[in-house]
């Protein structure tokens, strides 16, 4: 991260404001597209009447389904983008992302275990289990990645995360296979999508997201200090371990809750912060809110793209983000010399 700091010129407030307006406009456009485009396109008149409470025509019914979906995509994207930015700050690794570090896979396994062995069914139980699993996996990956000389280097963290993700997914399949009754629901959920959005699901995840957003955004200033190195940050009086813990808790809440509702969606948290760093610089007080907004835009547009590409069916958003994000991941790996990683 220090390298990026020297490379990226300091951004003037005016440039940042301009980008902020642009991202907000993109967010609005994304929401609008997400409501309009689908198997059946709807007109503005129908949307207006549906927003007014009408449920009579097919168009209005379509809007009634797409509104929660749009909201969920925006929320999930914001949560994943922000959680990726926080993880990159906490680990000082350009390769940190809830998907790559295995945290999403851990949340998914916890949910599957909960369903298979403890028979959990309620939304809040899903959420709590997923967050528990995400937290445990994050701790495990960080512990494995920081063993040995040099502490938690980005390379070690990425490998530990990828290995954990592979291991955990393999165990998840083992738990799932003999249980035909739950396998069906879980399999489509495991690809990652926002298609099954309901207002209840959104309401259930809101408190967790709010807590996650608050903890993450409050850590922004201390994350800036962490970027200078642990010793310097401690010298400035920043409680390094506590900052890491609080920020990581926020990130885990965000991606755990998202995974519980949408399934593991990869790579959003990786791409978005890198993009935002190019736009607004490395100051976390700008970077974090920007990552949230841009994450929402990315997921909304990916979801819309998935509906356009496979008309009249749809591609799950998790597949689209994998195809957007994996090349970005490879690009980041290529761009840096391996010693720096």
């Amino acid at each position: 991260m220090t390298r990026t700091a020297t490379e990226t010129p300091v951004r003037r407030p005016r440039t940042r404001l301009m980008w902020l307006l642009l991202v907000l406009a993109a967010l609005l456009a994304g929401c609008a597209l997400s409501v309009v485009i689908g198997t059946r396109d709807v007109g503005w008149a129908e949307i207006a009447s549906a927003l007014g409470g009408g449920r009579d025509s097919i168009g209005e019914a379509v809007v009634a389904v797409r509104l929660p979906r749009t909201l969920l995509a925006a929320l999930a994207g914001a949560a994943l983008g922000l959680s990726g930015a926080v993880m990159q700050g906490v680990t000082r690794s350009p390769l940190a992302d809830p998907g790559i570090l295995g945290v999403n896979a851990g949340a998914a396994m916890a949910v599957v275990i909960g369903m298979a062995w403890f028979g959990i069914e309620s939304l809040s139980a899903f959420l709590w289990t997923a967050i528990l699993g995400a937290g445990a996996t994050a701790a495990l990956v960080y512990a494995i990645g920081s063993l040995g000389r040099g502490g938690a280097t980005p390379l070690k963290l990425a490998l530990a995360g990828a290995a954990t993700a592979i291991a955990v997914s393999s165990l998840t399949v083992a738990i799932l296979l003999p249980r035909a009754d739950i396998a069906g629901g879980v399999q489509s959920w495991q690809i990652g999508g926002v298609g099954g959005a309901t207002p209840e699901a959104i309401t259930a995840m809101l408190p967790f997201l709010a807590a996650g957003f608050a903890l993450s955004l409050l850590s922004a200033r201390n994350l800036n200090m962490l970027a200078l190195g642990d010793d310097t940050a401690a010298g400035f009086g920043v409680p390094v371990a506590l900052t890491r813990f609080i920020a990581a808790t926020g990130a885990v809440l965000l991606c755990g809750a998202t995974t519980a509702i949408c399934g593991p969606i990869g790579f959003v948290g990786l791409v978005v912060p890198h993009l935002c760093r190019l736009l607004v610089g490395v100051d976390h007080r700008w970077l974090l809110p920007f990552s949230a907004l841009a994450g929402a835009v990315l997921l909304l547009l990916s979801d819309v793209l998935g509906r356009i590409l496979a008309r009249p069916a749809e591609l799950d958003v998790g597949i689209i983000t994998a195809f957007v994000g994996a090349p970005a991941f490879i690009w980041i790996v290529r761009r840096r010399r391996i010693r720096e990683l």
């Binding site: 494995i144 489509s188 591609l315 090349p327 490879i330």
Partner: protein, 343 residues
């Protein structure tokens, strides 16, 4: 001087004997496993009946259970295990890292996605699927190699690039299997972890072919690969043609892995596990390719038997090998981190 030379010669003879003993031991283990799987299932078949079925006689009862159910399964397990073990170990040796096995760096994911596409979307079967898997496996290997290239290929970069590529390909496979109308979900999931359920003897033919062609190719490169473990410069000084060896090895690896994946699905972690296990039990400084192939076969055979008979419920072989491989993968990462060794 002569004393030292004699000592060295004696040591080498000892190593050779040890290597031979190991191969015989592994073969014996494999034969014992075969005998066990052919005789003991839901019902017990006496050894004589098994032999008579194998000889082609018609034995009431045993002909079906042994000839139709157990034999194809066992044969397929052994052949697929040989393919995965040999291919995995060769890949790990070439890239000098236990993490660089085909199932982690994305070659298996490439062949798997191609095979699923051919089966589910194009409705192909048989040899066409295997060819498609091999072609796409080669394409994936080439892509990963090119993407990881930057003033040479560093191990860690190759592995990370491979992880990225396989994430993409696996999402394709997952989607295709999920949307496939003719496959039930359980079948699809079973295929994704790898299984020898519903094995037919006809499926053994492409595996045998792949083993003869690509297996021979790899074993022919064993000496060169061994020399390359010392480093590219030393190997070149010893007269190894580096580019040729690399190319042939990659071709052999992809051929074996792709054909096996097309038939049994990517049996989790066999390619990853066989090499390190073989390295652990064989004498240092010997090629591990042949032992690794046998270890792979034994792994698949016993894991499949355990999944069918020993565990509560019936699990496809990939779940059992996955449950063994996943902790080992984590252990490997922990060990690499602690010792600060190269990956």
């Amino acid at each position: 001087m002569t004393g030292l030379a004699q000592q060295i010669a004696a040591h080498r003879r000892g190593q050779t004997r040890r290597g031979r003993r190991l191969l015989f031991g592994l073969l014996a283990l494999l034969l014992a496993g075969l005998a066990l799987t052919l005789m003991v299932g839901q019902t017990l078949t006496p050894p004589l009946d098994v032999l008579r079925v194998l000889a082609g006689h018609d034995v009431p009862g045993a002909s079906f259970t042994v000839g139709r159910l157990r034999l194809p399964r066992a044969v397929l397990s052994v052949l697929a295990g040989l393919c995965f073990g040999l291919g995995g170990a060769a890949c790990q040796t070439l890239l000098r890292s236990p993490l660089a096995s085909p199932d982690i760096i994305g070659i298996t994911a490439g062949s798997g996605a191609a095979a699923v596409f051919a089966i589910v979307v194009l409705g192909w079967g048989g040899a066409a699927v295997s060819l498609m898997a091999v072609a796409c496996g080669l394409g994936t290997a080439l892509l990963i190699y090119l993407l990881a290239w930057r003033n040479g290929v560093a191990g860690a970069r190759l592995i990370l690039v491979g992880i990225g590529v396989s994430a993409m390909l696996q999402s394709v496979t997952g989607y295709l299997l999920l949307k496939a109308p003719q496959w039930s979900l359980q079948e699809a999931m079973r295929w994704m972890t790898g299984s020898v359920n519903g094995a037919r003897l006809a499926e053994a033919l492409p595996l045998l072919l792949a083993l003869t062609v690509f297996g021979a190719l790899l074993l022919g490169q064993a000496r060169n690969l061994e020399a390359m473990r010392l480093g590219d410069d030393k190997a070149a000084a010893l007269g190894v043609r580096l580019a040729r060896t690399r190319l042939l090895t990659i071709l052999g690896v992809v051929g074996l892995i792709a054909v096996a994946t097309a038939i049994t699905g990517p049996i989790a972690f066999v390619a990853f596990l066989a090499g390190p296990i073989a390295a652990r039990i064989s004498a240092p400084g010997r090629s591990i390719l042949l032992p690794a192939a046998l270890v792979g076969a034994a792994l698949v055979l016993f894991a499949d038997y355990a999944g069918q008979m020993l565990l509560p419920g019936r699990y496809p072989v990939g779940v059992v090998t996955g449950a063994i491989g996943a902790p080992y993968l984590l252990y490997l990462i922990i060990r690499v981190n602690r010792t600060g060794g190269a990956i």
